[in-house]
Amino acid sequence: MAATMDAEHASPGATPLVEMDGIRLAFGGVHAVDGVSLTLHAGEVLGLLGHNGAGKSTLIKILSGAYRMDSGTIRINGEAVKIESPRDSRRYNIETIYQTLALADNLDATANLFLGRELVTPLGLMNDAKMEAETRKIMARLNPNFKRLSEPVSALSGGQRQSVAIARAVYFNAKILIMDEPTAALGVHETQMVAELIEELKKQGLGIILISHDTREMMELCDRVAVMKNGQLVGTERVEDVTEDDILSMIILGKNPRAAV
């Protein structure tokens, strides 16, 4: 059913990478996410827009296992899955870059990159040398200026911390990448690097969900944008079908101008 609904967005016959259907989650009496349905295809960037408190972060935290939904279904590659913890989500190759970055400030870049997935020696002890070497490899690709592998990440700049969080999401062969405000703390140059990375990952066939407040950036980076307001989905549109003003009015008024026509 969901497949036919979204047939216009998909390459014909392809099963969506992720289908979220009728997702609901309430905190006390507040409906943080109220019956939202979304699809994400491989090689696609889906933008998620809305005011603060619209439910974007809650929705993606359901997909990344930080929250458990009250009702709804999630299908990955057409198969219904249960995501009840961050561990589950990682098992389906879903990686998340949180807005807060979710780094342990007292640990170094290597420890953060492998947190929860440490490489161990046959004796069960941590293989620090191997992990550090791997970290150096991936950081050389993502942020060649990054040299401070063994300092606590609290000592790093905002951009460097961001690249640690991105490295962690990219290193483990993610198929689905969720990025919550990945450029909020970054300068112009670093933002450009993230944009290039998104393009590259997209070419590799990842499905990416991107959250941002910067409508123009979203129009450039995304294939489709979904707008949320008060926990509900206002609409999902291909970026070439809408103008920035259309998107803004969806965000502010909570109405889809194209649907009204």
Partner: protein
């Protein structure tokens, strides 16, 4: 090299680069410095009685019980919790072990007093009880979300009185003879075995330093200059051998020797003397320190403990089961309380109701003086042990000098607050947390 040119400016700079080459934790260096100054001052004030083999031996065995628990308290505090019940937990374990070895095994199970297996069974029973109580408290904290402060404040009252109830308030003793060898002066290795331990430990220390270097080189990481590594290895080996030499230099008093020989029905040879050597309790502490350091630095458990302390949300989002982790941390604390109870009750030769009273404060103070941050995520095992040693030195040094008891406690309390103040300032300056 250019000392003559700029003597004032060159020295601090040279010193700085020396420390940099050695990559020594400056905080550790500061603590060792403070400890050395403390010892020297007491030695001067007591006319050289403080730094004698005898007093150093006594200091060491007095420190063991608190130091063992302090290593566990590091994990507890690093995960942003606290354990106020360790003194009471120690008493509960002590009571159960005392009853096991003086009543349950010899009378109820009919093994008879002095059976060779009694000491071992007693310790195992103590460990099981300590671990179970610790895990239970950890469950209350981790899964039922009761603050650790409250759970262990309750535990402080509950477990000591469980011990009281079980023993009907009686002092239980004397304990099993083998068991009492864990107490300190009653169980030492003697000089020969102590030298052997020193040799093994020194070789192991040097091997660890150079194996780490080789592993770093193999992966192409920067290493310290070879001379710096060699100097570190030399200092470590020297410290180990020196420490054992001091313990070996403390001779068993002649009266005690005579009794030992009389017990064997022999005459004491003319001019015979014997050093105590390394106490078994200190060996236990060293083993625990090594094990806990390995857990902290080289295992996932340790990594998760520090990650959770640094950022609990991040740990959870990384798939770490922080609730179960809390149970594990408190279970380890409980097991260490049991081992501490072995040492403490063996030292006293019996179990009494007030065993371990106020130990919770000493243990927390040792961990905090040793650099464990109450805000979580930061702390070292060796720091906590050094902290325990500093506290004990302060206490017994003042007792030797003849400082009044109330003044002793006033000083110890003030030192605790001062140490934390210095630590906060140090971390601000170095930009750490």
């Amino acid at each position: 090299m250019t000392d003559t040119a700029a003597p004032a400016g060159a020295t601090p700079k040279a010193k700085k680069s020396l420390f940099k080459a050695l990559e020594i934790d400056t905080r550790l260096l500061g603590m060792i410095g403070a400890f050395v100054v403390l010892c020297l001052v007491f030695n001067v004030v007591t006319d050289g009685r403080f730094l004698t083999p005898r007093n150093i031996f006594n200091l060491t065995i007095q420190t063991v019980s608190v130091a063992i628990m302090a290593t566990g308290m590091v994990f507890v505090i690093v995960t942003r919790n606290i354990d106020l019940s360790v003194g009471s937990l120690l008493a509960a374990c002590s009571a159960v072990m005392a009853m096991t070895q003086t009543w349950l095994l010899p009378d109820v199970l009919g093994l008879g007093l002095g059976h060779p297996i009694i000491w071992l069974v007693a310790i195992v029973v103590g460990l099981v009880v300590g671990t179970a109580i610790g895990a239970f408290q950890g469950f209350l904290v981790g899964y039922l979300s009761i603050p650790a402060f409250i759970v262990t404040l309750g535990g402080l009252l509950v477990w000591r009185n469980v011990a009281w109830y079980l023993t009907a308030g009686q002092t239980i003793g004397p304990l099993d003879a083998t068991f009492m060898k864990f107490g300190g002066i009653n169980g030492t290795l003697g000089t020969d075995a102590s030298w052997a331990v020193a040799a093994v430990a020194a070789v192991a220390a040097v091997a660890v330093i150079f194996m780490a270097r080789r592993s770093k080189l193999a992966h192409g990481f920067p290493v310290k200059p070879l001379w710096a590594e060699g100097l570190l290895a030399l200092v470590a080996a020297g410290a180990i051998v020196g420490f054992i030499a001091i313990l070996n230099a403390y001779d068993v008093p002649i009266g005690r020797l005579r009794r030992i020989f009389e017990a064997r029905g022999q005459e004491i040879p003319e001019g015979f003397s014997m050093g105590y050597g390394l106490p078994v309790s200190v060996l236990v502490l060293i083993a625990i320190a090594v094990a806990m350091t390995v857990i902290a630095r080289r295992t996932r458990l340790g990594r998760y403990i520090f990650a959770t302390g640094g950022n609990p949300d991040a740990a959870e989002l990384s798939g770490i089961n922080t609730r179960l982790l809390t149970v594990k941390v408190f279970a380890i604390m409980g097991a260490l309380c049991a081992l501490s109870a072995v040492v403490a009750s063996a030292r006293l030769a019996n179990h009494s109701n007030d065993i371990g009273t106020l130990d919770e404060l000493r243990v927390i103070a040792a961990a905090v003086i040793g650099g464990t941050a109450l805000s979580g995520g930061i702390g070292t095992i060796y720091g906590a042990i050094l902290g325990a040693l500093i506290m004990q030195s302060l206490q017994s040094g003042m007792a030797m000098v003849g400082v009044d008891a109330p003044l002793q406690n006033i000083v110890v309390g003030s030192v605790l607050v001062l140490a934390v103040l210095i630590d906060i300032q140090y971390r601000k300056r170095t930009g750490g947390k």
